[in-house]
């Protein structure tokens, strides 16, 4: 996992997104154990409170769950949940800024669609 300490995004959000990415890429499959707070803290040289905050974000979203004394595990159906969540934010994160930039460059809607379809 690589973090960008200079990014606008707080570290704990970067952690939760990175784990979500790993789940999407099947690095962590459903019902499998995910990286622990300690491992995150030591390998990324961050305070464990930050790591815990990142993992708790995923617990709150129902993507991972705590097994007492064992660790954190990927929930059943976590992948679908992440996909759903990501789709929702896809518009905010990408489409709206795409349209904004396009209007600055005076690119029409038709031209954008053409670009997406692969023709220049």
């Amino acid at each position: 996992m690589l973090l960008d300490f200079n990014s606008d995004k707080p570290i704990y959000i970067q952690i939760s997104e990175a784990i979500e990415d790993d789940i999407l890429k099947d690095i962590y499959k459903e019902e499998e154990q995910v990286i622990s707070t300690t491992e995150l803290s030591v390998s990324l040289k961050i305070n464990p409170a930050t790591a815990r905050k990142g993992l708790n974000l995923l617990v709150d979203d129902g993507i991972i769950y705590k097994k007492r004394g064992v660790g954190m595990f990927v929930c059943d159906g976590a992948k679908d949940k992440i996909l759903e969540k990501r789709k929702k934010s896809f518009y905010d994160n990408f489409i709206s800024s795409l349209l904004e930039e396009a209007s600055k460059l005076k690119i029409s809607k038709e031209e954008i669609i053409k670009m997406i379809e692969g023709g220049n």
């Binding site: 606008d8 707080p10 570290i11 707070t37 300690t38 803290s41 040289k45 961050i46 305070n47 464990p48």
Partner: protein, 286 residues
């Protein structure tokens, strides 16, 4: 629980006021950064916490008990001083042995395994160690002491990048296994900022801020863009760290980043970004 209460401490060296009516509470099991420029009073504060010197005014307690000449209370604290207090002709392994006498939960095996990891020759005499290895030697004592409170004064002094990395990792490993209170005094803020939970910023003998690193970073943000537009955005706001490059300007605004006026910024074609702890620190203590 080992919470440390510093109440109204004033310390003079001759006529110079090194600390001026300082009061702070150190909560248990958190990693604190004691950040300040040279001569701000970092070492003075740590020295006072361990009776190395005594305050002119005020008092310090550990769990409500005064630390003054209090062997029982002070045995909870291991202080890695910047100055070397160990007998110069003593071998490193002998220091380990004596440390075990005074800190009974000192872990000799752990100290030796850490020495191996850092490449510290325990048969060497203390005076034969380089600056970097003197830091490593003292940091190993602190880590292996198993004390509830670790005070680390400039722990990475003279360490190369690999050893600094290793030290932070070992520190975090030990902290994760057994939480303890750690105060790291340093001016190398950038690499330590994510390790810290709270930052204590000290300037000219006064505490400027004591907040969680997160809160501290949220308490300011950077706005940048065309100079006159930036000026109109920051009019009436408190700001520091003005930087101009040609017609481009960036300014650190001292207000919570949740108060960013995104509407206005879009109109003025300005960009927001997070402030780095290092930058905020430099601007605050300048």
């Amino acid at each position: 629980m080992n919470s440390i209460e510093v109440k109204n401490i004033t310390k003079y060296y001759g006529n110079t006021k090194a600390l001026d009516d300082v009061s702070i509470t150190i909560e248990p099991n958190k990693i604190y950064g004691l950040l300040g420029r040279n001569g701000a009073g970092k070492t003075t504060l740590l020295n006072l916490l361990t009776n190395k010197i005594f305050p002119n005014k005020g008092n310090i307690t550990l769990d409500g008990e005064s630390i003054f000449e209090n062997d029982k209370a002070l045995n909870n604290i291991f202080y890695m001083m910047e100055k070397n207090l160990f007998p110069e002709t003593m071998k490193v392994k002998e220091v380990f042995k004596w440390t075990k006498e005074f800190y009974t939960s000192f872990d000799d095996d752990y100290a030796k395994s850490l020495s191996g990891k850092f490449g510290l020759n325990i048969n060497k005499k203390v005076k034969g160690l380089s600056t970097g290895y003197t830091s490593i030697f003292k940091a190993i004592l602190a880590l292996a002491s198993n004390a509830n409170v670790l005070l680390l004064d400039e722990p990475v002094l003279g360490l190369d990048a690999n050893h600094r990395d290793l030290l932070y990792k070992e520190l975090l490993t030990s902290y994760n296994e057994r939480p303890k209170t750690i105060i790291i005094s340093t001016h190398l803020i950038e690499e330590v900022s994510e390790v810290l939970e709270e930052a204590i910023i000290i300037k000219a003998g006064k505490i400027l801020a004591k907040k969680s690193v997160e809160e501290l970073l949220e308490s300011a943000y950077t706005v940048s863009g065309e100079a006159s537009n930036v000026d109109s955005y920051i009019s009436g706001k408190e700001y520091i760290g003005e930087e101009t490059m040609g017609r481009f300007k960036s300014v650190t605004v001292l207000e919570n980043s949740s108060k960013q006026n995104k509407e206005l910024a879009r109109k003025l074609d300005l960009e927001f970004s997070n402030v780095e702890l290092q930058k905020l620190f430099i601007n605050l203590t300048n």
